[in-house]
């Protein structure tokens, strides 16, 4: 088991509700959802740093748009 560090996270009602919903939808604990989000965020940032772009595609509507991350 990798060593873990603990932090306190303050979330708004809406944020907590979203976390609850994702937790159910993804069959993950809330902690696992946040860890998964962190991995994904870092992966995307690493690709953007390489000059890659992130697109969202709706093939049914033949619509493709770039997703801009702050």
């Amino acid at each position: 088991m990798q060593e873990k560090k603990t932090m306190t996270l303050n979330l708004s009602e809406a944020e907590m509700q979203t976390l609850d919903e994702l937790s159910v939808k993804k069959d993950l604990s809330k902690t696992a959802v946040l860890r998964q989000a962190l991995r994904l965020y870092q992966t995307i940032e690493a690709r953007l740093d390489l000059g890659h772009k992130l697109f969202i595609e709706d093939s049914a509507q033949n619509d493709k748009s770039e997703l801009m991350l702050l």
Partner: protein
């Protein structure tokens, strides 16, 4: 998972005896060094022998172009990627890289996170193509590590992978994974998934 290594057992292919080994939860300098110093020459030796005895190229090992040094460097520092190695007798016997950013495709677990096995390779001398394979069980030990990681991450044992054609029967028959068919978007390789229930059966 323990960073220092966990004990596992392989099987001596000749005698059938158990062989102590270690699961290392990272691919470090030692593993890359072993790949350069032992794997590459053994692979060249294997290919030379296959050429001499006239084995068609289609039946040669399909991982000959894999470069573990670059595969490791590509993902240094990225949380989503993990490397694993099996070592025994002081030498790396198998390597695996996994990605935690993937989701299930099977109806019962669609959209749910799983451990995606990107690359899994056993040392050339442990492969069937080698003149006298040395150890058995390296692939199983690595896949077990992927399932264990899935459990540890709260993914309930779910894993997925695209299989090279030579390994399809291993994943389907030996590991009990679901065959979800050819993936036209991934080099026409066959995609396999293991559900939570299949993971429990696999771990025994």
């Amino acid at each position: 998972m323990n960073q220092g290594g966990l004990p596992v057992f392989l099987t001596d292919a000749l005698s059938g005896d158990g062989v102590p080994a270690t699961l290392v939860t990272q691919i470090g300098e030692q593993q890359i060094s072993d790949w350069h110093d032992y794997w590459r020459p053994a692979l060249e030796e294997t290919l030379a022998r296959l050429r001499v005895i006239g084995v068609p190229r289609a039946r040669w090992p399909q991982t000959t172009h894999w470069n573990w040094e670059s595969k490791t460097k590509q993902v240094v520092g990225l949380l989503a990627f993990r490397g694993f190695a099996i070592t025994s007798q002081g030498v790396t016997q198998g390597l695996m890289r996994v990605d935690l950013n993937h989701s299930g495709r099977q109806a019962t677990q669609i959209g749910k996170p799983l451990v995606y096995v990107e690359y899994l390779e056993v040392a050339p001398w442990n492969r069937a193509e080698f003149a006298k394979p040395r150890y058995r069980g390296v692939g199983t030990a690595l896949l077990t590590a992927a399932v264990d990681l899935s459990l540890e991450e709260g993914f309930h044992g779910r894993i997925g992978l695209h299989s090279l054609t030579q390994a399809e029967s291993f994943y389907r028959d030996a590991c009990g994974m679901s065959d979800l068919g050819i993936d036209e978007n991934y080099d026409n390789l066959r995609y396999f998934e293991m559900t939570s229930e299949q993971a429990t059966a696999f771990l025994g």
